[in-house]
């Protein structure tokens, strides 16, 4: 299991609901991909109510991260390789 703490993340939203995160991604990023729960982003399994929206903005990946006591965080991480992988996955669907 990967740890989000090892990523150079920026918090866009904190203590949000899964619905708020999905709406934020859909309304703020022209590029996004819907994934199922358990889908790995970096080395982290995503938690949420499907479909889980993941935003792509240049080399940035924007994704929800849920913890039992703190709700859902919307994180932004710069990683060209992961952004490319997600774009390729979207294209292949």
């Amino acid at each position: 299991m990967g740890c989000v703490e090892s990523l150079p993340y920026e918090v866009i939203m904190r203590d949000a609901s899964f619905k708020e995160c999905r709406e934020y991604i859909k309304s703020h990023f022209s590029e996004s991909i819907d994934v199922e729960p358990g889908f790995k982003i970096f080395d982290v399994h995503t938690i949420g109510v499907p479909p889980i929206a993941v935003g792509i903005d240049g080399n940035f990946v924007i994704f929800p991260y849920t913890k039992p006591c703190h709700g859902t965080f919307l994180l932004r991480v710069e990683d060209a390789e992961e952004a490319t992988r997600l774009r390729a996955l979207k294209k292949s669907r």
């Binding site: 299991m1 609901s17 899964f18 199922e36 729960p37 358990g38 790995k40 399994h45 995503t46 938690i47 949420g48 109510v49 499907p50 849920t66 913890k67 039992p68 006591c69 703190h70 709700g71 859902t72």
Partner: protein, 164 residues
Amino acid sequence: MAGNDTIAGEAPQIKKTAVLVLGCPQVPVQTSVALYLADKLSGAGIAPVIAGNKAAITLLVVADPKRHYLKEVMDLDRAIAQISDKKRDFDLCFVFIHNDAGVSYAATMAAISKAKIFPVIYGEHWEEMAAQITFPCTKIAVKAVHNPLPIKKIIDEVAPSWAA
């Protein structure tokens, strides 16, 4: 007898398993209900595994130091990773829910596991949380914050369905 507790010619019985996915332990009933449920499952011949964050697991371990009720416990992130990666799965899954994160974990378990899902919904906002769960499951839902008896009553009612 051939082998461990196996009569010659008879297929060995595979024990059912259940995972209890704990939420944030800020609502008092969770620890009490988790111990009760673990004991109830063990009594029904179902092996309970409890997954939670450090705080939730520590509350249980301290409450049951001789492990009369607790069997296997594991870190929640590790449990999600093992189930997602198809390294492990369970027959039954009880997800403790009192907030939005709990709903997210329940939906995740429904998506990644083949287990029969039982959301255990409680707390002040139990109706709002219950309404957000639309996937097929058996909800154990009631207003309970400090008094675990309303949840215990429903658990006792649905327990016969575990064998199915």
